[in-house]
Each structure stands twice: as C-alpha cells, then as structure tokens.
C-alpha cells in the first residue's frame, strides 16, 4: 500500500499541484494610480480604439454601427468557436463596472477581473506591449460609448481547450511580452508605426502562421497564414516577392484608407473591417504604419498547408 502511494499517487498529486500553481492567472497590476483611474483622455483613447481594431470583433454582428459593442461575433477557429464578449459600457452585461486596472489586466495579462484567464483569441499578446497610459485613455473613450444589453454566448470549445486553466500553461510557454522600447536607429515615423502595429494593430495575429500550440512561429511572422475560419489565405506582407515588395509605402497607406490595392483590386474579408478602422486614423499615423510595414524584412511565404 505504501509503495503504491510513494510511486504512484503522491508524485501525481505533486505534479498536479505544481501545474495548478504554474498555470495560475497573474494580473500585471493590483491597481493603477488615481491619475490613471480618473484622468484618461477619451479623444486620445479613440485613436487606440481605431488602431486596436476593437470594433472588428466586439461590435454586435448584423448591424453597421461600429460603436455598438454588444459582442456575440462567432470567431470560428481550429479549437472551436470563440464568442467575443460585450465590452459596451453596460454595467452588468458589459464592462461598465470595470476599473482602468481591470482593463489593463485584461489587455496586458489576459486576466479577467474575477481572476480567470482569457483565451488568446483576444490578442493580449499584442496589447501587452502598449503603454498603460494609452490603455487608460482607451478606457476613457470606451466609457463614452453606449451601453448594450445582453451577454455574448459562452465559447463553444472542444476538449481539452475548454479547460480555461490550461491557458495558464500556454502562457508559460508562449506569453513573455517584452516592452517596446523605441529603436533610436530608426525614424520617429517608423517607431510610431511599429508601436501602432505591434501594440495595437495586431496585424501579425492574422498575417502570420502558427505552430501546433497556436503561437506565432517567428519564421512565419507576417509571412502569411490561413484565415481564422480555415478558408482563404491572409497574405504575406513582408518585402518578399511573394509578399508586397512591389508596393510603395504610399500604396500601403492608401490601401489602409480606401481598401484599394495598387493593381486595381480591393481587399476583402476581414481586411475590409480593418480598413474601416484604419480609415479613422490621422493620415500621419496611417503613413507611420505603412512605413513600418514597408520596412518588414523579406520572408518567404509560410507554406499554405500549415494550419493556423
């Protein structure tokens, strides 16, 4: 009896306990300063709302108002359906009761106010690189938007992905955000473009291919990927000839504003929604994003057989 406990049960329990502790949700802040809680600039926040593409996932589907953030959009993935939550200012069904600290933890640690992991379908892997002040401004803007009643459905995920705690293990392997310091060797415009893309725009989340754990494979970052729903291809946007080497920065900026491509075509699918957001930005910020994308080193396109 004792042998069985020593060699069987106890080690299993120890491993389970270790796993439980290691996968614990870790918020980044316990609270933010009073200045940040109360002093957010909604006008600045609108820019981050547009750059961050919140409306594309969180706007209530089947209607045209980007600012009606009732959630409910079904994001079909290889893991099952993710239903984007209600992030309107509704106090019960949305995030109307959230503090700035709550939003910071959600967007930068992937942790909910009740201390649970969010699935990385919510691209906190990108938003983790934003400045806290900018998240505070975003909250100020979100608070000006109308409340929408109704919670989104719970996710429809297959086993074992429906075990939310397991995201903690995923984070241990795949979520190590490094802060984005400006690169002094690059222009102010490039640095601004990098910040808007890598901390808010989350372009890489669609334009890349991923490994088996669902993390972006560095070799394939920006080199194209299968669309989330599994049909169609999201293009390589590096300077490879299989990417957008023939586009000028002006072409990129124009496309982000109008959807027009330099060969007389238009972008479609999810990119249409991105263009609706990008069109809201000041010209200089669109140009900055374009400058950053134009400077992405050439990468051979990811193989189309790779599943997301």
């Amino acid at each position: 009896m004792r042998k069985w406990m020593a060699f069987g049960l106890l080690p299993c329990l120890a491993i389970a306990a270790a796993g439980w502790m290691l996968s614990a949700p870790r918020p980044v802040v316990a609270a933010v300063s009073r200045a940040l809680e109360q002093g957010g600039d909604a006008a600045r926040g609108k820019l981050f709302f547009d750059a961050g593409g919140c409306a594309s996932c969180h706007a209530s589907p089947g209607q045209d108002d980007r600012l009606k953030l009732g959630g409910g959009l079904d994001l079909k993935s290889p893991f099952g359906s993710f239903f984007a939550p209600n992030i309107s200012s509704h106090p019960q069904d949305g995030i109307g009761a959230w503090t700035v600290a709550d939003l910071v933890n959600a967007m930068q640690a992937g942790v909910s106010p009740s201390g649970q992991h969010y699935y990385p379908a919510f691209p906190y892997t990108t938003y983790a690189r934003a400045k806290v002040e900018d998240i505070a401004d975003l909250m100020a803007y979100l608070r000006t938007l109308p409340p929408v009643a109704g919670k989104a459905p719970a996710h429809g995920l297959g086993f074992p992905f429906n075990i939310r705690r397991s995201v903690g293990v995923w984070k241990l392997v795949n979520f190590n955000p490094a802060p984005l310091a400006d690169d002094p060797a690059q222009s102010a415009e490039w640095n601004r473009g990098r910040y808007l893309s890598e901390a808010f725009g989350h372009c890489a989340e669609c334009h890349s291919s991923r490994d088996m754990t669902g993390a972006i494979a560095p070799t394939w970052r920006y080199a194209g990927g299968v669309e989330l729903e599994g049909e169609g291809w999201v293009p390589n946007i590096t300077q490879d000839k299989g990417g957008i080497a023939e586009w000028t920065a002006k072409d990129i900026s124009w496309m982000l504003k109008t959807g027009d491509t330099p060969d007389g075509d238009v972008v479609g699918g999810s990119m249409k929604s991105v263009v609706r957001n990008m069109a809201q930005l000041p010209d200089a910020d669109r140009d900055a994003i374009a400058a950053y994308v134009k400077a992405l080193p050439a990468k051979v396109s990811a193989p189309k057989s790779v599943k997301k």
Binding site: G259, D263, D265
Partner: protein
C-alpha cells in the same frame, strides 16, 4: 475590298463569341484583369502618383460598362469549375442577385462617366462606381 474587310470583321466577331463560348472562364478572367488594370490607372491618379487625365478615367469607365454587359453571359452552367476560376458556387445559387450587380455596376459607371468632367468632379464622383468592386467580390469571388 470592302467585302473582305466586312467578312473578316464578321469572322473576328464571330470567332470571339465562339471563343467566349468555348472558354468563358479564360475570357472572363481576362476581362476582369482588364477592369483591374484600368481601375489601377485611375487609382494612381487618385493617389497623386499620376497627373489627372480625363481620357484615362473615361476609358476605364467605358471598360467597366463593357464588362458589365459581357460578364453575366460568361458564367454558363457548363463553366462553374476548372480553369483556375475564382468564381464561387454562389454565383449560380443567387444568379439573379449576381446579374443585378453587374447591371448596377454598368449603370453606376455610366452615371459617373456623365458626371466627370474635371479633377474635382472625378474626386467627388468616382467612389460611386468603385464601391461596387468590394460588394460583389465579397460573396462571389474565392479568397486567394
């Protein structure tokens, strides 16, 4: 002499329509590429990468009107698949809507063509025709 020219012209027209009948997929792909190239020249003007030329804009609008008339006939039941076509089955499932969009595209191109006389009217009016592109491609063309 004139009879030869007329005969040859008739033959050429006949051949084109026979070719179109024989390979509607290649013909329609080619036609869309023409529309794309023409639109591309207009986009250059809109971006400020090329000087405004009324003839360029009007030529593009004419190509679009021609395409809007010819394209619906290039999707017979016999040409649903093959030839690396990007046409989705929806073309045949909602055929009336598909054909109606071509008609709208042609009407918009004609209307815009009548309005554009200079750069200012170009900037104001061109969007009416270019909004047709995305709307139709969205449901009817395969994502690459």
């Amino acid at each position: 002499m004139i009879r030869t020219v007329l005969t040859l012209t008739a033959l050429a027209v006949g051949m084109t329509s026979v070719l179109a009948q024989n390979d509607p997929i290649a013909t329609r792909k080619d036609m869309m590429k023409q529309v794309g190239r023409a639109n591309g020249e207009v986009i250059k003007i809109a971006k400020g990468d090329a000087p405004f030329k009324l003839e360029t804009v009007q030529a593009a609008l004419k190509i679009m009107q021609d395409a809007s008339r010819a394209m619906p006939g290039l999707f017979p039941d016999t040409a649903r698949t093959g030839g690396e076509t990007a046409a989705l089955p929806k073309v045949w499932e909602t055929r009336a809507d598909f054909n109606a969009r071509w008609e709208k595209f042609g009407k918009d191109a004609a209307a815009v063509s009548a309005k554009i006389v200079d750069e200012a009217s170009f900037k104001a009016a061109y969007g009416q025709v270019s909004s047709n592109c995305g709307d139709c491609h969205e449901g009817y063309r395969m994502k690459k």
